[in-house]
Symmetry: C2
Subunit: 380 residues, 2 copies
């Protein structure tokens, strides 16, 4: 009897109440009974994004919103600064290339946080840079970038946007869009929102909305201008993913009104901390020891253990799906999720599974010591 447990930093498990909400009959998106659902989602998203700016919804995965954040804000030949400290940082570069946006790239060692001084230097050297693209939490390396400090630097200029892929940051930890002066903040449904994949969200500052007006890049499906107009009358331009919005309605209520946003951040951080310490307790190293994101933990596969075999054992023998490394980290790390619908008992059990899988792959340690450490740390 193999129970399947999802332990990846997106998609994450979906609460039963949300599943049941999504299993309701589909309602027409122009019918009056959809309106209150949409309105609650609209205001709930503003609360979780910590913004009074509009937050758009797209029937798309997070990458769709990333695409829109280039193709709607810049023009071919414009200059952008891209912070690349992982697979998702590289994606910003690829999107800029696709829209013929020139890029200056700051390459950050994978597993390290970007240095704000490098951003400052790049902006000083390139006064024509119109936007800085970065991740808040680089999911591929489980690393957190110093968004607040970087935003302070960008904010010294009025002619430059800061565009933050916060796909594994919104609802994960405190990243106040308005307070920090972020121009564009993105997220996706299959992360802290505890939903299946299929929805992307985008908060847009007034400055970003101004930039839109002069953008010359080609786009059609992702038209921020059109979506913003629709949002004023609680509509999306194209057919929205109705069931996912019915689920979002419930998930936002759970996060914002039942658990509380700060409590959600605190729980996620606590699970992340206990996971890091429990892995250290059995001698394992972490990819991002100094700048860890609480979204997930990247554990280095120890010498003598084969990464793919370890994950295969976890999946096929123990029922746990954990994430591999991406790009050049493929096979070298496993990533354990904390964001979303996970609690301390999920985490203790998953840690026990990792211990068992490691032992089965020949890694010698005191069996159960990681589970004990996690139990101890999560008891408070």
């Amino acid at each position: 009897m193999l129970k399947r447990r999802l332990f990846t930093p997106g998609p994450v498990p979906v609460p039963e109440r949300v599943l049941l909400a999504m299993a309701q009959p589909v309602i027409n998106h122009r019918a009056p009974d959809f309106l209150p659902v949409f309105q609650r989602c609209k205001t709930g998203l503003q609360r979780i994004f910590q913004t009074e700016q509009p937050v758009l919804l797209f029937a798309a995965s997070g990458t769709g919103a990333m695409d829109a954040a280039v193709s709607n804000l810049l023009s071919p030949g414009d200059h952008a600064l891209v912070i690349q400290g992982g697979k998702f940082g590289e994606r910003w570069g690829e999107i800029c290339d696709a829209y013929c946006v020139r890029t200056t790239k700051i390459d950050v060692e994978w597993g390290r946080a970007a240095d704000p001084a490098d951003v400052e230097a790049a902006l000083d050297a390139n006064p024509d840079i119109k936007a800085v693209y970065l991740q808040a939490s680089e999911t591929s390396t489980a690393t957190r970038h110093p968004v607040k400090e970087i935003a302070e630097i960008v904010r010294r200029r009025d002619d430059c946007l800061i565009v933050v892929d916060a796909i594994t940051a919104v609802g994960v930890y405190d990243i106040p869009m308005d307070d920090w002066g972020l121009d564009v903040v993105l997220s996706g449904s299959q992360k802290a929102f505890m939903l299946p994949p299929g929805l992307a969200f985008m908060g847009l500052s007034e400055r970003a909305r101004e930039f839109m007006k002069s953008s010359q890049a080609a786009h059609y499906y992702f038209s921020l201008d059109k979506e913003l107009k629709g949002l004023e009358t609680d509509q999306t331009s194209w057919t929205p993913a109705v069931s996912l919005l019915q689920g979002l309605d419930v998930a936002l209520e759970m996060i914002l009104d039942e658990v509380g946003l700060e409590e959600t951040w605190a729980r996620t951080e606590k699970l992340a901390h206990a996971t890091r310490e429990s892995m250290r307790a059995i001698g394992l190293g972490l990819l991002a020891p100094d700048d860890p994101s609480p979204a997930c933990t990247a554990v280095l596969v120890p010498d003598g253990v084969d990464g793919p075999e370890l994950r295969k054992y976890l999946r096929d023998k123990l029922g746990y799906t954990v994430a591999d490394g991406q790009g050049k980290l493929k096979g070298k790390i496993i990533r354990l999720a904390h964001l979303g619908y996970f609690d301390r008992f999920d985490t203790i059990a998953a840690i026990a599974a990792v211990e068992m899988a490691l032992a089965a792959q020949g890694y010698v340690h005191k069996m159960g010591e990681a589970a004990r450490t996690a139990t101890e740390l999560l008891a408070e």
Copy 2:
């Protein structure tokens, strides 16, 4: 965010596949598409009961089948031997009283197994005893009675039945109805069958079917004679609980064909053993140290800890519903389930929760040591 987890020895969690099967549209029980469902349930029940005798199904909880096993087999004034080693043993006595069946009772200390020698002596002293009623696994005390040895004694006589409440034994461990010569074996859906409550099962030997013919006790809903006739044409006398049978169909396939019956017993025993040892590892005592049932473990609430408060903390603060003691054990034990849809990761997490709850109630121990012990024992 409080995830609710059911950890009682019935009801137990229901697998998603079974829930989905039960969520199908209700089919009419006389319609042709119900027939294959019923037939698969009928033969699957025989396999899990390890019998070639008919196994009846009732829309009832297990106590309904207990009632039927008195009211259909004996007559007012008949003499029965009742083994009372817990709340469910006492229930046999109450049912006999209700049907004016005279009883000789063997009172067994709660948490101890019955002694077959006592059964032998009682039968020798009372040649008119027509039936012996007992539990295989006395759920209220988490104790296992020696059914095989007692059956050997009863089987020396042709004019006496052995009637076994195996509600938390069938599918939990090896209790072969035919091989051991058991006349009546009962079980219920919300135990090893991994279903919601609402179905009771009863295997009937040829000898039991003979006894039926001379029974004079009053009964109507529970008419074994009528049900046996119906079973020949794959029907029940009254409307069956169709959705539960749709679920039973899937659950039996999972237990018998996917996991395997022996593997299910082995898993349950392993979880029980690890739980007992992990509780001992943090200094706790068990109610049935010598004769434990693998269905559940009864942990003694330690001195200085209030049992109801402990369970309340587990339920309200940690989300875990565990069982209280029953009758005179109320508040003195907590019972942790192993039968049904539980795996080792469920068990490790539940043990961590018990540790946390104990500490919150003032019990001093090395936090996490029980979870560590369970992880170690369940790693193999």
